[in-house]
């Protein structure tokens, strides 16, 4: 079974970039345009990792994390953010880890691979 990744960001271009690159690496990709849609998808399906933007309309990334953990979902979450000093917020919200913007794709890829549930991306 392919590794499944959920990319949550209100910026379509960002989702496009990450989806294309992770798909190229063998991941099965799904996207959510905001926190509410992310929670719906995470309640319905099992994902092996989530890339979650911190600052989004309606529900922030930290709030999404909190609601996930309250619902008992332990999916690994990488919170990505342009904010400084957010480590404490990320940890207390239940994110597995966070990555500050700007970041390189190689950094993000390494972090996601490290925290994802054990799975095997399909050969690219």
């Amino acid at each position: 079974m392919m590794c499944k990744l959920l990319i949550v960001d209100d910026e379509a271009d960002f989702r496009f970039l990450l989806s294309a690159e992770f798909a190229d690496l063998g991941w099965d990709i799904d996207e959510a345009v905001d926190g509410l849609q992310a929670l719906e998808k995470l309640a319905r399906e099992r994902f092996d990792a989530v890339i979650l933007d911190y600052r989004m309309p309606r529900l922030s990334g930290a709030e999404v994390c909190q609601k996930l953990r309250e619902a008992g979902n332990d999916v690994p979450v990488v919170l990505v953010t342009a904010a400084t000093g957010v480590e404490q917020i990320a940890v207390s919200a239940g994110a597995t880890t966070f990555l500050g913007k700007p970041f390189s794709f190689d950094e993000l890829c390494r972090i996601v691979s490290n925290v994802a549930r054990p799975c095997q991306p399909a050969p690219s």
């Binding site: 922030s60 342009a82 390189s104």
Partner: protein
């Protein structure tokens, strides 16, 4: 058939004759400059500064080196499996500051010049670091088009870097041991250079923000949110350039890389528009009055505030004036006045409401911007006005 540049070099070295008919025009100009300034065409290696001078220079240029690094890594990957490529960064005097690339090319005995190498045309002749600085724009030097013999193995493509005020602060170059220029590298080099300039602008903005926060003139929490929005544009641009370079390195369809570069340009355009506005907002200096297109200024402010509006559940609408309205104003003061009016309107909209901004011509050569805040809950809308003198005849010079 002999490469014309090889023949040009042979003639120059043997009889001191410059042959414009054998060289491309920009290369001939570079050779002329090199000749006039006394560079030696027989040189086999670059001149390098003393170690302690190099160290001092690298320390002084650390902000530029840091801004350039992510893009240099991307550039060196764009050549893919061709391990003979390296990206080089030079300062504004053409001294090499950094080299990123395959070990063999970056640091091998026949590698590109190392940090501390003097590549000004007066020392090293026409080359991919000194010549872009001398020309003030993109230059490619292919193999034997290099003035000095020691660089004939390389093909170099370079472009100057400018700071937010337009001054040249350095130069970036991609060099490979190939006999021809690579067009796709040119496109990504130009984009990467712009990305580095965006990084420099971001650093400048961060310093400005720290200064304004320290004075308490603007709300710190809001400034932080706006800073994050700027970083978002910059982060997108950097990622787009990195991924475009990777895709070229993996020989994926050029259309994909082209799309990514186009996205990167858009992200950088957005960053620079907002960045310019940011600097107006946080600057304490009074600028000279100039003619400003009100609708365009409102549109950029709305763009700057769009994420803040979205997270507050507020919708912003800019109603275009029937005819363009230009005002004569200090751009910094105007930006601050309009920005404050937007913030008052946001407060009045109380989350989830609508903020409309409309520029219109009033009486007596005045223009005004009317901000209407309609809360989502029942309640009367709030109105704020910003009045300005209309420019009657001066040509439009900025938005």
């Amino acid at each position: 058939m002999t490469n014309p540049a090889v023949e040009a070099h042979r003639r120059y070295v043997s009889v001191g004759k410059l042959c414009p008919e054998l060289l491309r025009e920009p290369v001939f100009r570079a050779w002329e400059r090199s000749h006039v300034s006394g560079a030696s065409a027989r040189r086999l290696k670059a001149v390098v500064l003393e170690a302690n001078e190099t160290e001092r220079l690298l320390s002084a240029e650390e902000p530029l080196i840091r801004a350039a690094k992510p893009y240099m890594r991307a550039l060196s990957q764009a050549a893919g499996e061709d391990h003979h490529y390296a990206a080089m960064l030079g300062d504004s005097r053409a001294v090499v500051l950094d080299v990123v690339g395959h070990e063999q090319n970056a640091r091998g005995p026949e590698g590109v010049p190392v940090p501390g190498s003097l590549l000004a045309e007066s020392v090293s002749g026409a080359n991919g670091i000194g010549s872009p600085l001398a020309e003030g724009g993109y230059v490619e030097i292919i193999g034997p088009e290099h003035f000095v013999e020691g660089f004939h193995l390389f093909t170099c493509q370079g472009i100057p870097l400018r700071d937010p005020d337009g001054a040249v602060v350095g130069v970036i170059c991609v060099s490979g041991r190939r006999p021809q220029m690579v067009q796709r590298l040119r496109e990504i080099l130009v984009c990467a250079a712009r990305g580095m300039e965006v990084e420099l602008l971001r650093s400048r903005i961060e310093e400005d923000v720290k200064r304004v926060v320290a004075t308490g003139e603007l709300d710190e929490a809001l400034l932080e949110k706006l800073r994050q929005d700027l970083v978002q544009s910059q982060a997108a641009a950097r990622l787009e350039v990195e991924l475009a370079a990777k895709s070229l390195g993996r020989s994926r369809p050029v259309e994909y890389a082209t799309k990514l570069l186009s996205l990167a340009q858009r992200s950088m355009d957005s960053f620079q528009r907002q960045g310019a506005l940011w600097r107006d907002l946080v600057s304490r200096a009074r600028g000279a009055s100039c003619v400003i297109d009100l609708d365009a200024r409102l549109a950029v402010l709305a763009e700057l505030l769009k994420t803040e509006a979205a997270t507050s559940g507020i919708t912003i609408e800019i109603e275009q004036a029937d005819e363009g309205i230009s005002v004569l104003a200090d751009p910094q003061k105007l930006s601050r006045d309009l920005f404050r009016a937007f913030l008052f309107a946001f407060d009045a909209a109380q989350g989830g409401g609508l903020v409309r901004a409309r520029a219109r011509r009033g009486a007596d050569e005045q223009a005004e911007v009317r901000f209407t805040a309609e809360p989502s809950s029942s309640g009367p809308p709030a109105v704020f006005l910003v009045k300005l003198p209309v420019s009657s005849s001066a040509p439009r010079v900025g938005s």
